[in-house]
Structure formats: structure tokens, C-alpha cells
Symmetry: C2
Subunit: 359 residues, 2 copies
Amino acid sequence: MSAEVLISIDAMGGDYGPSVAVPGAALALDRLRGEGRVVRLLLHGDRAKLDAEIARHPTLHDAEVRHTELVIAGDEKPSVALRRGKGSSLWNAVEAVKGTPRAAAVSAGNTGGLMAIAKLQLRMAVGISRPAIAASWPTARGVTVLLDVGANIDSDAEQLIEFAILGEAFFSAVHAASGAGRPSVGLLNVGSEDQKGHEEVREAHQILKRGLIDLDYRGFVEGDDIAKGTVDVVVTDGFTGNVALKTGEGLARFVSATLREALTSTLPAKLGAVLASGALNAMREKLEPPGGGVLLGLSGTVVKAHGGGTPRGFADAIRIAAHLADSGYADQVARNIERVRPELARVKDGSSVSAETGA
Amino acid sequence: MSAEVLISIDAMGGDYGPSVAVPGAALALDRLRGEGRVVRLLLHGDRAKLDAEIARHPTLHDAEVRHTELVIAGDEKPSVALRRGKGSSLWNAVEAVKGTPRAAAVSAGNTGGLMAIAKLQLRMAVGISRPAIAASWPTARGVTVLLDVGANIDSDAEQLIEFAILGEAFFSAVHAASGAGRPSVGLLNVGSEDQKGHEEVREAHQILKRGLIDLDYRGFVEGDDIAKGTVDVVVTDGFTGNVALKTGEGLARFVSATLREALTSTLPAKLGAVLASGALNAMREKLEPPGGGVLLGLSGTVVKAHGGGTPRGFADAIRIAAHLADSGYADQVARNIERVRPELARVKDGSSVSAETGA
């Protein structure tokens, strides 16, 4: 774990640009070095603005600034970001990790643009047909990874299996407690019986439960299993995953606004809130989703930090990026893809697996 | 609004049977009579058990008990419920509304069994091809209805349009504030641009936005719009809707458990919780989902109350059932189905609407 990891940061992205990215980078660097990791930082963006921020953080004295004045706006369409984004801080951050082992790019900028540029510059990992975005949720038992949350619209059985492999390797690299066993994996469905759900999930279920792949597959899970933390990795198509993620985010914001309103509604409630403020702050921290979305399946790691996030959130995205780059993630994926390849070839040929098993 | 409404209750369903259903019925009857409605109650179940509960609620003195000893277990498979459920409290509750105008059945029992039995006994409403389950969510702006949350797995453009019509009429009948305009309707997607999402949602969007149907269609909405209350009615397929609903329920339970834990973690937090208890209880009430799931699209109203719910929750399910039975809901659906029928026929014929509009 002592080889150098390169973290390439789009320091201009998100709502707050360098004023979040630079302190976030400093925070992350301290933590990662505290873990004994060797990290080299690249910061892409306007040199004058970055230098002013960096001056406040001595820990960043050896970070390298790569100057560019071009920034992709947060609301730019992916197609426009692709056409006009060349040479921007986001583009350069991704380009710097291309072909570099043990490297990862981090940006709080335009999600669609980041995905499009990453797909263009970084090839697909061997054996993977589509990338997926993985989100990490705080749950009753720690963290659950949900994927895909929006890189794709439709996903067939083959892709769902690839997502299971990617998600499991990602969880191992980033969230697994040391000494913990293999992460557990579930397939999101509307019930737990084999015959539930549409054809794609049923077919993926049949292949996963045969145990050809080296992962701890637990079968179907339902929406409420995400927050319960029933399994470590929840696999679904990009449409359902995106709706689930955003539904959860919306609900969390609504509950937190309602709680804030309740605790300022009366004088006794206000006093109560002051007394309980320590516990309430600890709770808020516990409920905050760690890190942002990670683009998996490319040969190269790209992490999307929250656009409206804090330095702490940005630091967490960097931590995830560094752990992923500094892990056996890619090898684990390659091994499992190799194992399931004959089975996937059969699925593609159209010889249905459920027919074979008589289901 | 003074014609009699018949409410037919499976008093044995759910985790608590008559001990929740009977006080719930009493509570609902008081409220509905307070609104000036004329309600007749049928209670299906074990006469001895029901009579013992009814004796405690004078308001139920004229409720009619229809005795049966057969009860469908909560974990029975729908196919088994269909085969062996005849004559059970759930079966009889549904049967009693068959062919009866201004009638609705309410049960806290086995969801799959209730759906299967309702589909078997009550025909589809004219022009509707599939029933849908509608759930009501508390939101920042009041209540949002989400459908389908699980009656179907796949839904094509035609069904999504039917769900929009059913959901809008349901919202008008049950949740609309008096004097409010038409409910607004959105189609759940992963972005707001016309070209986003899979074929089914894009096709339904093209038809809905033409304005042939008499409803206030606002276009695509995303997962976080549910809790925001951006629109009154959110339309989606049964797979996505079920995942969204259960994801939300799971998250709400997790947040509430975390809050409870925080407010008992230290002595100051405990004191604070006591001071703020009034405000916190009001908040909990505000966040509680009203009523349960309603099975729409059949000729006959069936409401599923929460299996582990309280008398208040059961009463709310009865209130929804009574308002729906006592409304012009069915006529509104029939009028809108009539309007969109030529368009839907074209969709079925396979002449793509998006091709016509050049999109």
C-alpha cells in the first residue's frame, strides 16, 4: 500500500469551486497520509484563484497546479460539454488519469459532462459493456452501495451481472471494514420470490445464484432493504436506481426541513433543540451520504463529488477515489468477469438461462 | 353528497385484526358523519370477536356484522388466497361491493391476496386495461399521489396514460382542497428533457403533452419531486413505483430510528426531547403517510390499509374509501378515457407517436 497514488482534481467544479475543492483536498491529504498512503495531488483550474486558496493550507505545498481558464458550466448539456469542454479543468482532470495506473479524477462539476468526457477519454474496462454510477448510502448497519444510479436507462441481465461484479469490488476496496468478510450483494426487485419482477432481473438472478462468480449473492432485495442495510451492495438498472436515489434524497431533505421547522416552532421546542444540539448534530453527520457518485467500469477511476457540498464532502470523495485507485479493485473485477464470461455469452446468444433451469 | 355510501370492512385483516379495524371504523364513522355523509358499515369477520369490540364503540350500534370464521393469513401467496380464500373476511368484504354503486371495500390484510381477489370479483373499469395501486405521500406541500406502486411489473405508454387519468381523478376525489384547481400531473423520469428516459415514458409524454385529455400535465418529474410536492400526481410503472415507495418507507423508518436514538443518547438530549415533545409529535403526525394503497381501475373501490397500522391509519383508509365512493371519480375517468381512446388505439397499432411529431 505504499506505492504512489495520483489524485487529479477539477478544482473549479461545483457551486463553490476552489473554495470547497482546495480545503477539501487539504483535509483529504492529511487523512490519507495519516493512513500511511503516498498521494500526489494535481489541481486543475485558474492558477491565481487556486494559489490564493492553497496559500491557506500548508499541507498542500507540494500539490501541482495545472492552469486553465476554461470551466464547464454546471448546467451545460453533456453534448455541449463534450464539444466545447476540451482544455477545461474537468477535461484536464480526467485526461491526467488516462493510462496512468493507481490514479483517480475527482470533480464536483457537471455530472453529465463528467460522464461523457470520462467515457470518451477512458476506455471501458476489459469485459465490461457499460459503465455504472455507484452511490453510497448511510444505513442502519453502515454503508450500502447502490448501482447503477443513472449511467444507463435500460439494463439487461448481462449488465446487471456486470454491475454486481463492479459494485462488489468497489465495496471491498472502499467501504469494507478491515477483517470483514466478502461484501453481500442483492438484486433490487419488488418481492423476494424467484418468479417476481421483469425478465432482466429474473435472468440475472438465475445466473448470480449459480455461484460461478466469486461473490456473496443473497438474492432479491426490496426498496426498504437499502436503508436497512440488508446487503452491502444493491444492484439495479439506471432508471430504477436513479429514481430510488433521488426519491431518498428528496425525502431526506423534506424530513430534515420538517425537523428544523418543528424545533423552531415553539419556545419549549427551541430550548429542547439547544439541549439536544450535540446529539442532533451527531445524527445529521450519521445521515449524510458519504462521498458522491463513482463512475465504475472504465479503465480509470472517476468520482463525482456533490456539486453543492462542503469541504468535508469533497474530502470524502477524494478519500473514496484514493482508496479505489490504491486497491486491487480492477483485478477483482477482471477475475470475476473472466469467470462469468461463458455464461454471459450464452445469455447474449439468446439461449435463455431460465429455460435451461426449467424455471 | 347525501346519498348513502356503503363501506365494507375486512375486520380480521392485518397484524391486529378487530382491535385496530373496529376502533378505526368508529373513528372514521364519526368523522364522515361530521362531514354530513351518510355511511352504512359492513364488518366481516368472527362475530364474537367483533361484537366484543363493537360494544365499546356506541357509534357503531347500527353497523352490520357478517359472520365468517375464515381468515386469509398475511403471508399466504396470492394464488393460494384465490384458491382457498372464498368465504373469508377479505373475500366477503370485496364481494359485498361488487355491482354496488357508491361502495368501497377496506382491508388491512394480505396485499397480494386482496389484489387477486379484487381483480377476480370486480371487472376492469370501461376502457382501462390494467389496475394500478396508488399510494399517498406526505410532502412539503401537502399530499402527492404516486402510482403504480406495484399492481404491475411492466407498463407501456398506454398504461402510463391510463394511470395518469386514474391518479388525477383519485386526487380530485380524495385529496384536493375545496376550491383548488385541477390536480397537476407529472411523469416520473431521470431528467426533464423530452429525449430522456426509456421509450415507454417518452411515448406517454408525447401523448400527454398534446392536451387531448382534460388534465393539468406538467411533463417529466424526478424522484426528488415526490417529497417536494412539485406535482399532485406522479405517474410511473409498477416496478419503479414499488421500489420508490419502499425505498422511501425504509429511509423514513431509518431516520426516525436514528432520531429516537439521538434523543435518548445523552441526558441533555433526553431533557431536550421532553421539552420538544409536543413539536416532535406534531412532526411525526405530519410525516405519517395517509391511508394506505388504493386499487384503481376496477369497477369498484378497494383500499388497502397498512397491515401494522393504528386505528387512526385504518380510519384514514376508510375516509379515503368513502370519499372515493362518494365522488364523481368514475365519471371523470370514463370521460378522459373516451377522449384519449383514438390516440391510444394508434399507439397499440404501433404507429409511433414520436415518429409523427418528428421527435
